[in-house]
Subunit: 251 residues, 2 copies
Amino acid sequence: MIDAKVSPLAGMATKFALQASLTLSDQAALLALPHATRFFEAGSYMMREGDTPAYFGTIVSGIVCGHKTSGDGQRQMTSLHNPEDLFGIHTLYLESLDHNVQSLTRSEVVTIPLTALRDLAKNSAAIACAIASIVMVDISASRAWLLNISRRDARARVAHLLCELAVRLDRPGQAAEVTYDLPITQEQMADAVGLTSVHINRTLKYLSLSGLVHHSKSGVVIPNWNNLVDFADFNSRYLHIKGNVSPLSRN
Amino acid sequence: MIDAKVSPLAGMATKFALQASLTLSDQAALLALPHATRFFEAGSYMMREGDTPAYFGTIVSGIVCGHKTSGDGQRQMTSLHNPEDLFGIHTLYLESLDHNVQSLTRSEVVTIPLTALRDLAKNSAAIACAIASIVMVDISASRAWLLNISRRDARARVAHLLCELAVRLDRPGQAAEVTYDLPITQEQMADAVGLTSVHINRTLKYLSLSGLVHHSKSGVVIPNWNNLVDFADFNSRYLHIKGNVSPLSRN
DNA sequence: CGGAATGTTGAACCGTTTCAAACGGAGTGG
DNA sequence: CCACTCCGTTTGAAACGGTTCAACATTCCG
């Protein structure tokens, strides 16, 4: 099995292994991928729309987002990546990037050239399947965001986002209260859910006053997980977490 | 090369071949996939959220959509499929469906069991890569919908959708005027772009009055392609059409 | 300590929704 | 062939949710 101590690529290799059954040589090949550790300041671009995709990576620390901007400069995030998440793998076979990737906080990432992964996938059906599988999970999340942004009001919308992050950070499941770090600004949150930072402010105030969630620099506190899930109309199925116990992600 | 006359699967096989270089035996294997021709009445469900994915397919005729619904019954389409498009392939490696697939008009489709494709992908890296590639193109479109719905007003939003469909139906490129069929109701269009059918009505009226697009039972007429593209802030890059001449898709 | 970035609040405004009513066309049955 | 119905379209008026603009408070950071 993959030993998490061995390599900064171990997390990435594990993600692959979760999606398809890999031979030992496939696992070894993944761990042998050329890679570099890089640091990005908050707000710096890791990739830009229109670029030729060059690498993908795993996040070691920090928060990274994918986003697009409209002609008049408005921005919409399309994904949010936490430590241990992969980013950029969607673009493995795209000739040009359709979105930007930017760090929201100072972050450390391990980057891997796409050419190297392409070579691997060309020779291993299992690895290619794992990649396809990873992208399928991501497109499912993308569809969930679409619904969230188009059909839920501001309150449920940010509640839903906070639920998603809780589940992805593996927090719920034990007690009623759920807690995690989320060092992003209200403006960044606005770009994630398609609102204004002013309205995010009012919405967070409402959610806090009604005891559903508290968000501050010290993190997110969800006093009662089930309450928030109900309020947000949240169902974690779309995250396709393997071995997920309850499809409703209520305790 | 793949002969379009041979099999109802030829279109599907060609889509795969466009994304990865397939050996002749890969191509033959794709064409040999078990399949069935099926008809669906307008409005009938081909797959439902929560189901275990069973098949994918190509559309022969008709229009099919993917959609999700929120707890209070509001609906948001996540994709629209025209003849020759694939549907359901996103779910190849998902344990449960995260969205519904429904026909908007009476439609004829060719369905292929996912198990058969999984077997093929397991043994051919090229086919697995083609699948990954197809999904990557789709997730790119999904991101574009996200931006469209969250950050453009109703007018630009429906204009953008009509641009996308024009390009995907391969209409623009020759003359300034662009025409195509789009036998969907205003309510269906509303579900595609995240608006109300009432507001779609007013928006279409505006677009028609200003000479940008006309939509009726007889189809879509775009008197001047470049005008609509500018108005909609449309750039076809996100569709990743191979061999696409102009990334801006202006003539 | 000072300046910039982020958060907070109020008031006016505006795009979209909601509700309600009426209209038109296609299909059906008498 | 007309009357009836159903479904989608059209229009108006009022209400609502979120934006915009502007001012001020707070926190962060060099």
